[in-house]
Symmetry: C2
């Protein structure tokens, strides 16, 4: 038994038609592979709520804005399959690029102003392509539920919004970020860090926590909170470069100036040649 | 019995879940109401192929580029229901604007270059909004098949393309244009024509037929064919203004210069204050 590897859309649809006939609830965990404990949390959540669990593994070339990032992105299908096996996944959908894009897509998902800030500002077209490939996966799998990590908060907000705007019949489940003991958010990109970089990388989470504490203590001035938080990034560490640290509305992903309710504090930090992102939900003064 | 009127998305989904449990194939005929014999052809086709037939009636405000066109667009739900009843429709889905758009949509369907020419050129944003509302209807109804008239050829090409690009699990069925005895394509907008305008309106189909004959006789020069066809519009009729007459690839909707295979000849003609469109598929020299 174990997780069955499926590479063609047609074959996957056949398998899922059988599952649907047996009245199975279908859960989808879309991934780019290089699975880690954060993905395992998504799989466990899906396993808990659904009778049939599909993990898709597809490194979507269209969503990479830098050629070297696409080239360096970790790929290890054999290990991923074993992990899927261990955690009770039913189907691993790992299509080739030509299976997903037999021709370049002409029609895509426009994500509007949700991509104006945060990562969307620094990775032009990225979320447009993320939303498009996720919509394709929804069309292929037709899941009842789909699971996404809160680490990619802007992605999650965009997916929730296009599902609402387009009446897509999928329930989106956001799953809390899994962290290393020191707080570093799990990411497939962490594998690219050298030992010293790994130590430095924690600065991002520290900055976000500093912002969160500041907000909890009653500071409502977003500019001031961001300035104080950014000061947590050691200026004398040459491997670090803060790309952004922003405070946004958790749904619209628009920056706020006055913090009057829950906000998401999000940042992107370059550690050497690796770009890491993280965020925390800050509920305001306590 | 008869066609049941449903106004809420939730209610419609309940009804369709029952149909799906009974293994019914679901057919959707999306319309803006003011149903005529062209719609009846769509309904008959759906009735023939599906166990459950849904006709949606929704005048989508977002796809109207002119306020007066939206205001003047014919609405007659009672008559439409009776017609649906007569032709064996199971469910008439007629949502309010606020049901379809509780908030303005942020995420939409980008239709790329398919809207660059023909109607897309003269109605900016129109097909973007058409594709978006059709995608919403697909998400709400989850039909196995959906039926569209070939009269709206650019719309049909765009829907076929976004369904392919986004792996939407719906089979798109194109249905040939229904015409009056003199050749005028049926359209809800024909109801806006006065008697003299009705007579003048046939000029568009005559021009398209002239182009088709010319192509069948071996003319491959698109510019020349268009010029000759446009000459069929009586220049001395002050109620007529040709908006465009174009020869395009039937899939990409891009204009061709040399006619080397099947093409679609499409035009838009203003008749007084009413804008009519029509097209023919021309298979090339015979």
């Amino acid at each position: 038994m174990g997780a069955e590897l499926v590479e063609s859309i047609e074959h996957l649809r056949q398998r899922l038609t059988e599952a649907r006939r047996a009245n199975a609830t279908i859960g989808l965990v879309p991934t780019m592979g290089a699975l880690h404990a954060g993905h395992v949390r998504l799989i466990e959540e899906a396993r808990h709520e659904c009778q049939a669990v599909v993990v898709s593994i597809f490194v979507n070339p269209l969503q990479f804005d830098r050629e070297d990032d696409l080239r360096r992105y970790p790929r290890r299908l054999d290990q991923d399959r074993q992990l899927c096996d261990r955690f009770g996944v039913d189907l691993v959908f790992a299509p080739a690029v030509t299976e997903m894009y037999p021709v370049p897509p002409e029609c895509t998902i426009d994500v509007g102003h949700l991509a104006d800030h945060l990562c969307g500002k620094y990775r032009p077209g990225h979320f447009h392509s993320v939303a498009t490939v996720v919509m394709k996966l929804f069309g292929i799998v037709q899941p009842d539920r789909a699971y996404f990590g809160e680490k990619d908060a802007q992605q999650l907000a965009i997916i929730r919004r296009f599902v609402a705007d387009l009446n897509v019949p999928v329930r989106i489940v956001g799953v809390p970020t899994v962290r290393e003991p020191d707080g570093l958010a799990l990411s497939s990109r962490n594998a690219q860090l050298g030992p010293a970089e790994r130590q430095s990388a924690i600065a991002l989470f520290r900055a976000l926590k500093a912002a969160d504490r500041r907000i909890a203590s009653g500071d409502t001035d977003a500019e001031q909170v961001k300035r104080l938080a950014a000061a947590e990034i050691p200026p004398d560490d040459p491997s670090l470069r803060l790309e952004y640290l922003e405070i946004v509305d958790p749904e619209t992903m628009q920056p706020v100036t006055a913090i009057t309710g829950p906000v998401r504090v999000a940042g992107a930090l370059w550690v050497g040649s690796t770009r890491l992102i993280d965020n925390v939900l800050s509920l305001g003064a306590t």
